[in-house]
Symmetry: none
Subunit: 134 residues, 4 copies
DNA sequence: GTGGTCTAGACCACG
DNA sequence: GTGGTCTAGACCACC
């Protein structure tokens, strides 16, 4: 299911968070769908259950999944009122990254392509946004 | 010169790397300009000299500065042929971040603004890109 | 009758306990009134009968309901001499919560409103307290 | 320093969070003051370092402390713009608790005393709130 | 020295 | 069987 790099500087639980977040954002995991149980993922990835648990907990804190004791972990529905604070943080990060990329040769066409691809991936969540980019 | 946030979860040396990188990208520090010495920065920022040293070493590894023993650290000239591999990596990161931001409500106008702002900052390094974004 | 949130981190049986307790406190369920049977509630809420049973047992332990074998569960009469110990515990909790809320910006007007609303809900059980709060 | 109840239903790390939060709210621990190190608290309380770590992490997530790798954990300054969402949640909890307390005999004088005491503890954070309660 | 991550394995609470 | 908590002890990153 996933590919983890245990030698990476990035903690395993963070890698997990990112991978699962991606699956949720790209609608591969759908709202209210059940995630693999802590123990199952643990044995599949040969990673300690605690590490999986921690990743799930982080995802819950960030609002991407919810967990029911004795039942399992499930994908959360999208919030209709998106978190403004989080979005603002993301924008700051994006700007920094874009500036660095421009320095390395990124063009406006590149960013157009990236946005378009990302938008396709998310399967048009924001319907008012399906128009042409330009 | 800089403003460091000791409370941030991001290591101080990484903050330094990012800040200096930004100054270089935005042409505030120009090619072959000398950077402040480790000791000076260390006392100015009340930061351990080791931490400064580490930041400079990291910047050197990434190709943003070069150091001359006994003289100091200097801003590297822009590579006209930017590292394609790095740009590719950046694009991957960007795409991931953009997808997440769209999930949280980012619109095409938002990304337009971000690109525009970032482009202004870099002071039109890439002349083929000074036209209007739209 | 109730609205349960299966996604909540609070166990379902506890949610049930709180809801029913609220109905009793607010006199919607009157003393000696019969509660819905375990089976009925179970099928209505599509919740495991064990869970309902557990909630009722908990309510009985706390003195809010009593059960008669073969007949059902019933709302207990109000104790005119309320449990002083419980009240003392509640006060401790309240004080802690109020302090935290003040730290986050709670004003005396806020607490006035809260008390007033809570008082309205209880429909003036304690007659010496029906006057204006201020 | 603290007294923990290992037999309690409430997790140890949560007990720790509550205790430390209380010390911060009541200004016994002052902003930027260093908390005992994970290892020290761990041995003092004969609790596993991981459990302490988890409590500190939770406090950081809630904004009560901040941690610097290699340095320690420190009390965070109060946010000038308090978290409205958190306050709203607290109010809901408060209302429920107050209603229950009224049911058990709480009077408006009682709540007055509680608010007053809590306000004293917090050492008058909100200066516009030092007037008489009534 | 400090915090941060991870494993191995245990026990409890919940449904 | 599920998630949640905890211990024992290890290793790494940072300053």
């Amino acid at each position: 299911m996933f590919q983890l790099d245990v030698r990476s500087r990035k903690p395993i639980y963070e890698q997990l968070v990112d991978k699962i977040k991606e699956l949720i954002i790209n609608r591969i995991l759908k709202p209210d769908e059940q995630l693999p149980s802590v123990r199952m993922l643990s044995s599949q990835l040969t990673v300690n259950p605690n590490t999986i648990q921690r990743a799930y907990r982080e995802l819950e804190n960030q609002g991407y999944i919810y967990s029911i004791k004795g039942k399992g972990n499930f994908v959360a529905a999208i919030e209709l009122k998106p978190n403004e604070q989080k979005l603002a943080e993301l924008k700051t990060d994006l700007k920094r990254l874009i500036a660095e990329a421009i320095y390395l040769g990124l063009t406006k066409d590149d960013i157009y392509v990236l946005f378009h691809e990302a938008h396709q991936q998310t399967k048009g969540i924001n319907s008012d946004d399906t128009g042409s980019f330009r």
